[in-house]
């Protein structure tokens, strides 16, 4: 980034929005320092409480609008877990719902101008993906013992090919958390950076800036879609991986 031309010309700093800053003062960032990460994760928690707890306070048989939305989220993820991971997977429903609500709300909150997108950071998505990876691996070995390894031994393939397939399967298994996390973080980071770049153009182009502004509006719509779809993709992949650990049939 060699855009350090203060004052004149294009001064676009698309990555500034991702900088982790302490909320109070300028001190160094220790592990416990309250930062903008803390703030926006806290807002996500509050949004989750408002969406799923406050709206369902009345426990109405005929739901209010807010309760309908909460029930929609519940039904959507519940059905996804049941369909993809199987009936056994429902034990992990609260866990998967946690992941989905966090990713979805963080993505959506990140679209608020001037906000901080926690899910655009590899640190966050990597931890989420590693948690899924560790859960699947540990649950798989706990439930199936050494038999969990049989998912790498493709019994439907010819015997000669099986060792080769086993190596490929093993590599793909360990690449999962990487693709799982970079898919989410990369999508969000790229979209937000692109919006910021266009915003920089809009500031420098005078009357012609209607073009970048229109582009920002279009990309913003796309980003809304990406925010929802990436949360969905992250969750459904979690369910798919979980099926390996809890389901009977593999592949």
């Amino acid at each position: 980034m060699a855009t350090e031309e203060h004052g004149s010309g294009l001064a676009i700093h698309p990555m500034d929005q991702f900088v982790v800053k302490p909320l109070f003062g300028d001190g160094p960032i220790e592990w416990y320092t309250p930062t903008n990460v803390t703030l926006w994760m806290g807002i996500a928690v509050l949004a989750m409480v408002a969406l799923l707890v406050l709206s369902t306070r009345r426990r109405a048989i005929v739901p209010s609008r807010g309760q309908s939305v909460a029930e929609l989220f519940y039904g959507f993820i519940h059905k996804m877990v049941e369909d993809v991971a199987g009936h056994e997977g429902l034990k992990f429903f609260p866990y998967i719902m946690t992941l989905f609500m966090f990713v979805f709300l963080s993505n959506m909150l990140g679209l608020i101008p001037m906000s901080f997108t926690t899910t655009s950071h590899i640190a966050v998505t990597a931890v989420l993906a590693l948690l899924v990876f560790l859960t699947v691996t540990l649950v798989g070995f706990y439930r199936k013992g050494i038999g969990f390894l049989s998912m790498f031994w493709v019994s439907s393939a010819p015997l000669v090919l099986r060792p080769i397939l086993a190596v490929i399967e093993l590599i793909s298994y360990f690449v999962r958390p990487l693709s799982h996390s970079i898919r989410l973080g990369g999508n969000l980071m790229a979209g937000h950076a692109v919006i910021k770049v266009f915003a920089g153009f809009a500031g420098a182009m005078g009357i012609a800036s209607v073009v970048p502004i229109a582009a920002i509006a279009a990309i913003y719509g796309l980003e809304l879609l990406v925010a929802a779809v990436q949360a969905y993709v992250f969750t459904i992949l979690t369910c798919v991986y979980l099926r390996d650990a809890v389901g009977d049939a593999h592949h």
Binding site: V37, V45, M48, Q67, E71, A123
Partner: protein
């Protein structure tokens, strides 16, 4: 990666995502957030929503059963109503037929009585007419005889009553 340069108006150098000095902070707060969300969801939100959905399902099932029952009742009521209606119709038809038959009987009796009276009256009238006719014929014969006797006398002949009568009678018959 210059961490200390991220405080004020300084701009990001490279990708802040790869500034590993902020990772412990992010990971710590992420774990706190996930634990909070997990507990809120698993202790409050999800059981509550699940209970509401189950409640609704059972309510709907009950309502459907009740509706089915009411529907069956309605069908039965309609059937009973139709039956009653049909019964009433046949009853009414029966009463109408009976009334008609009675009226017909009365009518027939009245007609017969009237016919008999008319016949009696007609017979009487006929007798009266016959009497009058007989009386008239006798009178005509008498007048004829008298007129004949006068005529004979006027012509200067002695009128034999017997002959005149015979002649007049013969003429009247002729």
């Amino acid at each position: 990666m210059a961490t200390e340069a991220t405080g004020g108006s300084e701009h990001a150098v490279g990708m802040p995502q790869l500034d590993f000095s902020t990772w412990p902070n992010q990971i710590f707060w992420l774990l706190v957030t996930l634990v909070v969300i997990y507990f809120v969801l698993s202790k409050v939100a999800l059981p509550r929503i699940g209970a509401v959905l189950a409640d609704r399902k059972s309510t709907i099932t009950n309502d459907l059963a009740a509706a089915e029952e009411l529907k069956a009742k309605a069908v039965a009521a309609e059937k009973a109503y139709n039956e009653a209606l049909a019964n009433a119709r046949t009853e009414a038809a029966k009463i109408v037929a009976q009334a008609k038959a009675e009226i017909q009987k009365d009518l027939d009796a009245a007609t017969a009585k009237a016919d008999a009276e008319i016949a009696a009256k007609a017979a009487e009238s006929e007798r009266t007419i016959a009497e009058i006719r007989d009386g008239a014929a006798q009178a005509v014969a008498e007048v004829a005889r008298d007129v004949a006797a006068e005529l004979v006398a006027a012509l200067g002949q002695a009128a034999d009553a017997k002959t005149v009568t015979a002649a007049v009678t013969a003429r009247l018959k002729g």
